[in-house]
Symmetry: C2
Subunit: 413 residues, 2 copies
């Protein structure tokens, strides 16, 4: 089963926005067993859209289209689809109700241009848009399925999860696929592969293992394909357990979640708290934690001690430590993490201090030198790293490495 | 002049990575006066790549290809290009030197598979890769230009800026284009358009004005097209000055930079400092500032006071304030911002406290309720906002709104 994603609109082609929709849709389709053959971004141009549709139906079975459904003149997806299918346009009662509902909710008058949002090609089945006025549309034509959706991410996402994926599964009678993700941190692909080589060799042909590496973390994804959902789940779980017990503490989570979310869950389930003291990461570690709902249950907060004065006043780093050893030193990192534990009254703390660059490096401490400390009341671990010379990457790698060290410290908490 | 961007490789098609390369390339091409007609992401499949190339050359003049240049078996871009152009492969001396240089630098033995990185289709002109072993390649074929580059972002970016763009400008004798960006914050597109309607109407046909809105900010971009670079620069500057003086303090910067970077520049040029006290944004505002090189000159740091205890201990918010008014209140925001000024000894401070959601809302203070305070020794401004019910958006909107309020407070600093 092959699919193509077509995004329509100029914002992507002039580089004003990054196309995050397509990556998200591709993930969803892949998880359902539909392979994405091509992603095409085209302009709001009639002939160009017609050509893209024609090319796509020659290579795939399912064509998912986003964008170009707004009420303004430059949005021409609907009428171009009608031309492509050689049908007329009709007003859809359900879509009109939805437009009226949304205008009533915001107490705005319904203009003719808004009413036209309910006009759709007459061969389509309308997919209701709970979050906006532009209806989604499902077409079946000469053995292929076409789905047109708005480009607004959350309108599109809701439609895909709630309506499009279930309908695709039903239409194409896709086999059951069960995924199980194991999140690891701190070891590379080749190390992991060696550790679980025996298990990997013993996998039956209908269970696949994929390594998905990303910035110091590797996700291991087991995918089982089959007819009997219950047996499949048991079988996948069996191999997952073998892998998890072989890998030990590098495993952070047994589901597909963010690393910091896994750590928050671990802390919360043991009623433990965390604080941070950030210098070179400048708030990024705190931001990683606090982007997750409910993070306040385990995360108390912390200091962004960018200046030396703040390292002293908020964290209690000694003035003589800063003078004798410098802000980027084992001793400063240690005092920072202990200051966080003490002043912020948390069970665990993370502290980082380093030279993110591009300026500030010396021969002894080049750009990319970072000290990371993690601590509990019982134990403090401090390590030095030398990352690269790119500021953004140094910030990200420092954060992920610190999270990995915290994971090791938490152990079997 | 039209271009197509083709990305080759499965990572994008399975949704493992978001295609940020294409947006970046599209921006660069647009700034040089080359319009991107289509972006296509295709798999590492010989026939699929051949079809994509054939389709692209039917609609555009320039085809920029990224990815599929690694040393492993699944990277087939080079040999597929040779097949497409019906030429053989030869070893390129310059590319081989580059491979040897990089292996010598990291003190690694040169294997046969690495030596093959220097094999290229015989009709290409090699584009040296300063940051990696895979050479870029420039082809001219039947009046069209094809450029193949690695998919690794910084290798590709360096090639585009340093070599590909200058060569495209020279090959196609593109007209001069001068862009001037004016960054505004706090007012919407329609407000701005009304304020500068007269100026916009008076623009000559060879100078265009674009509104590029993004999260509470609008970039106004003047683009001048012409033959004489000096005259054009003077002319664009003339209209820019008119716009800037009409818009007053909503203008933050006269170049295309990030909002927070513009604020840092303003502070630095007046030798003023800033600190922050973040509750609901959880470190995001600090992260925005500290991602910029040199931010430590103006940004001292701050507190991520997620828990009430930290609001008291680091910022000196009164216990009775928290009890009587709650953490999300005018009084708490005021005490936070004044605590930051005092404890962190900065000239300016930002404080935010709110309910990012999805939990924690009440009838009186629904999810999305945020208090933002900005202050100097002389003045404190506190405002209440009600954003939406999406956590990530609440964090971003709070941050941008706080930056806008700081901009107003800074005034003509």
């Amino acid at each position: 089963m092959l699919a193509e994603i077509i995004t329509i609109g100029d914002e992507i082609l002039i580089g004003q926005i990054v196309d995050t929709n397509s990556a998200w849709i591709a993930q969803q389709l892949n998880s359902a067993g539909i392979r994405v053959k091509q992603i095409s971004s085209v302009s709001d141009d009639r002939q160009h859209i017609l050509t893209a549709l024609k090319e796509a139906q020659e290579r795939v079975d399912v064509i998912l289209i986003t964008g170009g459904l707004g009420p303004t003149k430059d949005d021409i997806t609907k009428k171009t689809l009608a031309e492509y299918f050689q049908v007329g346009m009709i007003e859809n009662a359900e879509a009109l109700e939805n437009v009226k509902r949304i205008f009533a909710k915001y107490n705005r008058p319904l203009l003719e241009v808004n009413r036209q949002q309910a006009l759709v090609p007459e061969n389509c089945e309308v997919i209701n848009n709970h979050n906006g006025t532009a209806p989604g549309m499902w077409f079946e034509h000469q053995g292929k399925v076409y789905v047109s959706m708005p480009g607004v991410p959350f309108e599109m996402m809701y439609m895909v999860e709630d309506q499009v994926l279930p309908k695709l599964k039903a239409t194409f009678k896709l086999p059951f696929i069960i995924h199980k993700t194991i999140l690891t941190v701190g070891e590379g692909e080749s190390f992991l592969a060696e550790r679980i080589a025996d298990i990997e060799d013993s996998l039956p042909p209908h269970i696949k293992l994929a390594y998905l590496p990303k910035l110091g973390q590797v996700r291991l994804r087991l995918s089982g394909y089959g007819e009997n959902q219950d047996n499949l789940a048991t079988e996948v779980e069996h191999y997952a357990e073998q892998i998890i017990s072989s890998l030990g503490t590098v495993v952070v989570a047994q589901e597909d979640i963010a690393l910091e979310k896994a750590l928050l869950d671990k802390l919360e389930s043991s009623s433990k708290t965390l604080s941070v003291a950030e210098s070179c990461t400048g708030g990024y570690i705190s931001h990683l934690f606090t982007q997750h709902p409910g993070s306040s249950k385990a995360f108390l907060g912390g200091a962004v001690s960018y200046s030396n004065e703040l390292k002293e006043s908020i964290l209690g780093v000694k003035n003589e430590t800063l003078w004798q050893h410098g802000a980027v030193s084992e001793k400063t990192a240690t005092e920072m993490v202990q200051g966080a534990l003490q002043n912020f009254k948390s069970d665990y703390a993370i502290a980082v201090t380093g030279i993110a660059g591009p300026g500030g490096g010396t021969d002894e401490k080049p750009v990319g030198t970072v000290w990371i400390a993690v601590a509990s009341a019982a134990e403090t671990v401090v390590r030095r790293f030398t990352f690269g010379n790119k500021r953004k990457q140094n910030i990200e790698r420092t954060a992920i490495t610190a999270l990995g060290m915290l994971n090791t410290l938490l152990g079997n908490l």
